[in-house]
């Protein structure tokens, strides 16, 4: 199965002008994250399909909580759970383990919104999926697309 064929002619979106951020050079500063940083992490993968924008990311450093809302390219995109899985894997690798991550499809953006959200929030199914070589390969491919 070739995921690329599901949406063979994706609309490629312009990346909008980014807000400027000053980076702390203090090595001892508390490792705080903001939406832009999370967006940077994610834009290394699925951004060009406009799946996630900076506005769809909420970060609460105090409670170590990140919420990402993504918009599948088409209403019946069967890749929605795989895209969600990619986002989760990416954040799992980049954020400290104390972070709680909730990943959801944008309201009304997908025909099986509730089912996709439920599946993405079930960590047992996520764990099992990430032991599936076929799916892991698909996720890795998705995460490497930008670099490749």
């Amino acid at each position: 199965m070739t995921p690329g064929l599901i949406n063979a002619n994706p609309v490629v979106h312009e990346t909008k002008a980014r807000s400027v951020r000053t980076e702390s050079t203090d090595e001892n500063s508390v490792d705080e994250f903001d939406a832009l940083e999370i967006f940077d992490i994610l834009s290394q993968s699925c951004n060009h399909l406009n799946v996630v924008s900076e506005d769809d990311i909420d970060v609460d450093n105090k409670s170590s909580h990140v919420r990402v809302t993504f918009t599948p390219t088409v209403q019946h995109c069967s890749m929605a759970t795989v895209i969600g899985l990619c986002i989760r894997v990416k954040l799992m690798r980049c954020l400290p383990p104390r972070f709680k991550v909730d990943i959801r499809v944008a309201p009304d953006s997908h025909a099986s919104e509730a089912a996709v959200n439920k599946q993405l929030s079930d960590k047992e199914r996520v764990a099992a999926a990430l032991e599936n070589p076929h799916l892991v390969e698909m996720v890795e491919r998705c995460l490497q697309e930008r670099d490749g």
């Binding site: 919420r67 509730a114 089912a115 439920k118 929030s121 079930d122 076929h134």
Partner: protein, 392 residues
Amino acid sequence: MENSGFEPRSNGLEKLSMVDNSREEEGRAQGAAAESNGNGIGLGLSLRLVQELEGHLDRVWSVAWSPSGHTLASCSGDKSCRLWENSSASASSTTWRCQAVVEGGHTRTIRACDWSPDGKLLATASFDATTALWEKVGGEIENVSTLEGHDNEVKSVSWNSSGSLLATCSRDKHVWIWDVQPGNEFECMSVLAGHTQDVKFVTWHPTKDILVSASYDNAIKVWTEDGDGDDWRCVQTLAEPGPGHTSTVWALSFNKDGNRLVSCSDDLTLMVWDTSADLYDSSPDHALWKHVSTISGYHDRTIFSVHWSRANGLIASGAADDSIRIFAEDREQSSTEPGGSTFSMVGKEVKAHSTDVNCVQWHPTNPRILASAGDDGVVKIWEVIGNLSLLG
């Protein structure tokens, strides 16, 4: 892709969004109110960390005490089980050590484990679709049997009270009942179909051959053996549109007498069920199990584990909010509903693990000892501090 287990499924329910701090406040308020509510112990219990047991290389999914309480088994995403024992007679002394690492039997995550009632066999359920049986043979732990049959991940395993039956459940939506035969032979007795989504948890009634299963389809199902044996059927479903959970049911636990069952869910609630009705009664208007109480407003992320102590009567719950909470049934019931009960939180450990708490298990005989397991790869032994004598 069809078998990936990660394509969209039908009908799920909306889950919480951001961490809702007001909910936590509400929970605290309810907990505080409980101090003057019935049993008078209020928030009087606390958990003292006895020891952290480190060694697993991945998240620990589940722990199980041997029937004597001498050994604690833990299982993990690192595909191994570890057996922990205390060299001292006191479970609350800091002398727990890993006595054995059980590995090589599974090729994927070990999701759950359970000891046979005689403590001789350990059953392990794995994402590799098999259930393995382990026995101590001359100082070594040997894999004496492997049960194959499920189509994909096995998620829970449970022995019945006599040790004659073993139940397993899987993402394949089925529950299997295995007949335990001499010589470590296990024969599939029945395959139970009824859940519409993956089955997360199975447990047996503490004295009767009644099996209860919990699922991603939000339902709890109760199964009994047909009159002439060998076949099993669902005799009751605890789910909406009646009282029931509104999201995945992750775990179940009976109280000591088997007249109560508690369930925990992704819907952030615990539900207590009256299970005193005899479901083997075949008369047309026989009584059914019924909802008694919903405990809500405490955990603010998925509740993965619940366990009703057979030694102290308390309910412990562990959740993705990293906390462990302890609940007691109120002695003086203020409920207006006949047969109703209320429960109050009597203790909590807000940061029990640095990440999700996946499992909590009370010691089988010592009323003060609790074990927990988390995504942080650590198993913890806790001692309950406070007056347990006020409990019913």
